[in-house]
């Protein structure tokens, strides 16, 4: 546990994670394309997460959700370039962080769980030792102390027969149990911000529910902020207080989860909602969304990247990204807002 008492939730604390106007692109891999300007994959994205808050980041696959999480963790692939904007965690600017500072952040402040938990674990090392390695990397502990703490972590993530599991290899555990181990590894950092990238995709539906319940409980108990990346709106609604909706690398809507889902402002959010199965709706009541994500390498990409799929498209959508409405002088997570010309 952290030695500091938890900061009060109100009056407004400074955000734990603050992303401002962040643009990320990929340098051309092929020599033929070298020298061309790098086009932004993520374009001028701003969002923030308050201490203890759970923000759901939703959108179709390919919309840049995982890329953003990797940027926050300092794990961008070598061809990725930060083209502008700022990225701060706990007041520290990450864009000019040294490798040593990144290591400190990933040992004490940030942690991430991934979609394929088995692949994220070392296949040839028992999980107990993997936990001990993680614990000993951040504090000088004797082997017995590290083992005791590893066991305590496995118990916190509700693994059955935890003492016996310390010696298990990842292949001896189910997918759900591997995800619990990954969560235990993340908790060993005592992180202030947990990034969870589709943590339950690929797991059984009953296991999904159990893992998310566990995640929510641990986040509450530890006052740990969570950025939950998911393409499942129902899951986002159940586990997140706030939502940010991304389409093709652009943030299009944000606000309290209930408001975003019950009175969506942006046509993209409305489209996602209309395609999501829910009780009481038959197949004919649901609507597939036209088209797919645009090719982000295109030179003639419209300013609002949703324009070509949008039922309410206007001529200016092609040339100018819309202002956020309603506007606020200071960013406030309580404000439900969207970027769409149809709102102006």
């Amino acid at each position: 546990m952290s030695a500091n008492p938890h900061p009060p939730i109100s009056p407004p604390a400074s955000p734990l994670l603050e992303v401002r106007d962040l643009s990320i692109g990929f340098a051309a891999a092929q020599a033929a394309q070298a020298g061309r300007p790098v086009l932004p994959t993520i374009e001028r994205l701003s969002l923030h997460v308050q201490p203890g808050q759970t923000l759901g980041l939703v959108g179709e696959s390919g919309s840049g959700k995982s890329l953003l999480a990797l940027a926050v963790m300092g794990l961008l692939p070598p061809t990725a370039r930060i083209l502008g904007g700022s990225l701060q965690v706990a007041g520290q600017n990450l864009l000019n962080a040294t490798p040593g500072q990144w290591q400190q952040l990933r040992r004490h402040t940030l942690a991430m769980v991934f979609q394929n938990p088995r692949q994220a674990l070392n296949p040839v090392r028992p999980i107990g030792l993997q936990l001990q390695d993680a614990l000993q990397s951040r504090a000088p502990l004797s082997r017995a102390q590290a083992q005791a703490q590893a066991l305590a972590l496995l118990e916190q993530v509700e693994i059955d027969q935890a003492p016996a599991r310390l010696k298990a290899y990842p292949h001896e555990l189910s997918g759900g149990m591997c995800q619990r181990v990954l969560l235990a590894l993340a908790l060993s950092r005592e992180p202030r911000l947990l990034l969870a990238d589709e943590p339950t995709t690929g797991l059984d539906i009953t296991t999904q529910a159990a893992i998310l319940k566990l995640l929510t409980r641990l986040a509450n108990e530890r006052h740990m902020a969570t950025l939950l990346i998911t393409h499942n709106l129902t899951m986002a609604r159940q586990h997140c207080s706030h939502l940010a909706v991304m389409h093709a690398g652009q943030l299009v809507e944000a606000g309290p989860a209930d408001q975003v889902l019950q009175q969506p402002l942006h046509p993209y959010t409305r489209g996602l909602r209309a395609a999501t199965p829910q009780r009481g709706l038959a197949l004919a009541d649901l609507q597939a969304m036209p088209g797919g994500l645009p090719d982000l390498g295109r030179a003639d990409l419209p300013a609002c990247r949703f324009a070509e799929r949008c039922p309410q498209v206007q001529t200016r959508c092609d040339t100018q990204f819309p202002e956020w409405r309603p506007q606020a002088s200071a960013p406030s997570e309580a404000l439900h807002r969207a970027a769409c010309w149809s709102l102006i």
């Binding site: 997918g175 059984d204 393409h231 129902t234 996602l272 909602r273 395609a275 009780r279 197949l283 797919g292």
Partner: protein, 269 residues
């Protein structure tokens, strides 16, 4: 008579033996499918639901005759499908009647064949078509799966997940099968794409009278598409009935657990 009748299907796999021991008659076996019986009427959709390891995909593979059961019967319109062993089933006269759509759409296509070639193959081999007649049927299949013609010359890696899923569906539907077996065909897709594919499957069922055996772990999706549902656990069917019966008043605790795991987009939890 039902279109598909499955009776007391059993499939076992030997469990791994300890090092130094040899597999023998008394080697422990896993009863992956343990006495499964199913009925599917023509033009209906049956959802086969359960968690990973429950035997639902093995059951689908047995019905699709990709594997041989240890015992039990599979009848399509009264014809015994088990009589032809799985290794010769690719050439069985009923192969065109029973077709499959896989979960990993892009991964189940030959990476070096265009969409056009992928859709043409079953029509060439099982319907003996060539030339203009083949071309006509390929276009027809693409239209049935709502695959734009412009995509037909693309290779699998040039297709999005949703487009690859439509190639897989066009390939299966081109032969106008009577039974389509779908193993988690939409679980890797975004909702925006998933809904279009589900609606397409539903119209194929209603317009062409294709019966669907739909394997999924997601009851919410099964509810949208299927009139009947069978819930599997540990190789056995623990509950079956109309989708409404099973979902409104589940009898087996496991079904109730599956229902409880479904969230809601509106209202309180």
């Amino acid at each position: 008579m039902a279109l598909l009748e499955v009776q007391s299907l059993v499939k076992t796999y030997p469990l791994p033996v300890a090092p130094g021991q040899r597999a023998g008659r008394d080697t422990a076996v896993l009863r992956a499918v343990d006495g499964v019986s199913l009925r599917l009427e023509a033009g209906q959709a049956l959802g086969l639901v359960g968690e990973s390891g429950s035997g639902k995909s093995t059951t689908a593979a047995l019905v699709a005759r990709l594997a041989d059961p240890d015992s039990g019967q599979i009848r399509l319109d009264g014809e015994d499908l088990v009589r032809v062993p799985a290794r010769r089933a690719a050439r069985a006269p009923w192969r065109a009647q029973v077709q499959l759509v896989f979960q990993d759409a892009a991964g189940s296509l030959n990476p070096r064949h265009t969409a056009q070639e992928a859709i043409a193959q079953p029509l060439q081999h099982l319907a003996g078509l060539s030339g203009q007649a083949l071309q006509r049927r390929v276009l027809e299949a693409a239209a049935l799966a709502q695959l734009p013609e412009a995509l037909l010359q693309r290779l699998p890696h040039q297709l999005s997940g949703g487009q690859a899923a439509r190639v897989g569906l066009a390939r299966a539907i081109g032969l106008r099968p009577r039974l389509l077996i779908l193993d988690e065909p939409t679980s890797a897709l975004d909702v925006s794409v998933q809904m279009g594919l589900l609606q397409r499957l539903d119209s194929l069922r209603r317009e062409l009278g294709v019966s669907l055996l739909f394997v999924s772990h997601d009851l919410e999706v099964v509810r949208l598409l299927c009139q009947q549902v069978a819930v599997m656990r540990r190789g056995r069917i623990v509950e079956n009935g109309t989708t409404e019966q099973v979902m409104e008043s589940p009898r087996h605790p496991y079904t109730a657990q599956l229902m409880a795991a479904l969230g809601e987009l509106d209202g309180a939890d």
